[in-house]
Symmetry: C2
């Protein structure tokens, strides 16, 4: 997103929600890479736009109910089938013998899980919710917003030393820093683990394992780039946990938009059909090939800019074998995690002066010399970001 | 919804989510009028199905953002315009000088409002949430599910006598009993009022006033019957309340499905266009005319069945002048609220024996001799309901 500070107007918007990037940035315009709106993949969806068209008639999908034969009664069968097919194609998660719970984005499922994994006896103290720093900036507020007696944010998992029950959120690849994660709490008490796998898709990271955890959360937003649809899902081993999550979603929003489910099912179908008909089509037609190439190109350009600037260092990522792509690959995270060199104490403020809006380390539970930068915005914005970063000088 | 107990199967379903009603009920089948799935109006939407078609292409509506110039940044301008236009056509609410906050159904907005209207100082005791009994069966659980320190369910507003701050929910017309409501708490302390106006539409009740309260909540589900879309909205006078609600929706689900917004805007547009072109078309083409006639016919048939049974009494409703229809009308609530005559202590159990599934008074904070019956299910189910009720005999 580009916000002009000259006249206060946003970039021109089509009536269909696509934003026309301004072709040049004035020197007073901010490059806003603070949020993670995943619009980078839009050019792919433009190419296949007609193939992906969904049409919904006036009398379709009116009911609250999606499938009364499914525990997750608000999920339509097409959505369920598409999700299972996608994981079968990508091979990133074991879906067998698990319950599939649909949510209004993974944010809703995060809260449903806190509810479902907390002890229900009211005499109990709130369960501690932790994640290793740097952790996703919204976990804390999402946990504490209603000041629940069931759970409470307790901060950095690496520092957790209480002799009390806990929930550890393991985000892998991690937001903000892209690292692959495992649980870190070392406690005598048994903890419950939520695996937030929003970025465990082939464009961001080699698919090294078919993960098989008790609680795994995914989101459509970061997989295909359709953040506006608000579709997330969780695979859950324990039926009682799944039932409590579904009850939460019922009270919270009486299910999940049927229109979004139908559309997400269609888009996922187009992706999977591509891999099914692999030999008959050009590889640029394959979504994960396209999006991985795009991420790779951006990261190469970005590393060049960072090297030129001599002001920041970047996280180093290992190369691993990707079972999906059948080759060795590096990681190309959705966010870059920059560390400012000595002399710059507050990276966010420093970059504000360069008219680059980022999210500072404090929001992620670490030092202000770190900043998070979105790598999945528009192409125009990304190019301008690289230009500005490469011109950065030590103060 | 019809649930067969013979072979455990549901009614046949089209792939587009429309349910083909079974033309005859076996005597072992339940008539399920326990929920309020508003599918009664589907025949109208079948007639205008093509006019209402929305088409969404692969690259459209990808972003989290709907309108960065609006406080409610996830709401697309089309949705905002459609909602304002609808209230302008119906005349049921004053929208001027209020903030419009969109939610994933009105359930999400209810919780957003509890958060926004609670005192934020953590030293404070939880604010009491009350509603006059009989009250909507989900308010209690929706309030208490996370055991918040900000608010707590305190029950019947008519019995509230604490000298403490409170939030009163005024549902008008009321779910379950269809009565028109005003606040009832009589306390020395100032309370905050949430007007839940889900049923304040011309098919259910005369539009007697253009309401102008500080907090008014509406839902698309009960207005047009599109419950699957999960679209609700609130008009809020105080910008600080609106901001807190939007922050809640952000943390809860990062906004509201863009696909649902586009579709809801389209459907509302078709309704409003009808009234704009009033003289050029047959009145059966007008949504509120169609749906009011349907509700009236059902209520007449239903009253006949109840009279025949001699087992129940019904709530009496006044006749009022409707500013929208420019005539005197009775109310035709979305639910019937039955009181069993003496000798039947538990209405829900009594009706279970007649293979009618209802929701008993206990769920609404009153005696078990009351039951709530949906009047907005399929035609087939409704006819069978009347047949079974008219055969009811005193035990």
């Amino acid at each position: 997103m580009v916000v002009s500070t000259i006249n206060g107007t946003s970039p021109l918007s089509h009536s269909n929600g696509t934003t026309i990037p301004l072709s040049t940035f004035s020197c007073n315009s901010f490059v806003n890479v603070e949020k993670g709106d995943p619009v980078a993949f839009r050019p792919y969806w433009e190419k296949v736009r007609d193939e992906c068209t969904v049409e919904i008639k006036g009398d379709e999908w009116m009911s609250y109910l999606g499938d009364t034969n499914n525990l997750c009664w608000y999920m339509v069968p097409q959505m369920r089938d598409a999700i299972l097919r996608l994981h079968n194609v990508v091979g990133n998660a074991v879906t067998k013998d698990k319950f599939l719970v649909l949510g209004t984005g993974s944010s809703q499922l995060f809260q449903a899980l806190l509810y479902a994994l907390s002890p229900s006896e009211s005499s109990h103290r709130p369960i501690n919710v932790v994640a290793a720093a740097p952790y996703y900036s919204e976990y804390k507020d999402a946990t504490d917003i209603l000041q629940s007696r069931l759970f409470q944010w307790t901060g950095d998992a690496a520092l957790y030393d209480k002799d009390e029950p806990y929930i550890e959120v393991v985000t892998s690849p991690n937001n903000p820093d892209g690292t692959l994660r495992v649980p870190v709490v070392n406690s005598g008490v048994e903890g419950k683990i939520i695996y937030d796998l929003a970025y465990y898709w082939p464009q961001y990271t080699p698919i090294t394992d078919q993960l098989d955890h008790d609680v795994m959360v995914f989101t459509f937003s970061k997989c295909t780039g359709h953040a506006g649809s608000r579709i997330g899902w969780a695979f859950v081993k324990d039926i009682e946990v799944a039932k409590k999550m579904i009850r939460f979603v019922q009270l919270n929003s009486i299910g999940v938009s049927r229109e979004s489910q139908i559309r997400a099912a269609k888009m996922i179908g187009v992706i999977c059909d591509g891999y099914k008909n692999l030999k008959s089509i050009e590889s640029d037609h394959l979504f994960f090939d396209y999006s991985k190439r795009l991420m790779k190109e951006r990261w190469e350009k970005f590393k060049g800019a960072i090297e030129k600037s001599k002001v920041f260092t970047l996280t180093k990522y290992p190369t691993s074998y990707c079972h999906f792509n059948k080759d060795l690959f590096e990681q190309y995270p959705a966010f870059a995690w920059l560390k400012c060199l000595e002399g710059i104490k507050d990276g966010e403020s420093y970059l504000e002066k360069l008219k680059i809006r980022t999210r500072g380390g404090g929001r992620f539970g670490v030092d202000a010399k770190y900043v998070r930068v979105s790598m999945i915005g528009t192409e125009d914005e990304f190019i301008e970001l690289c230009t500005r970063l490469s011109n950065a000088k030590r103060e």
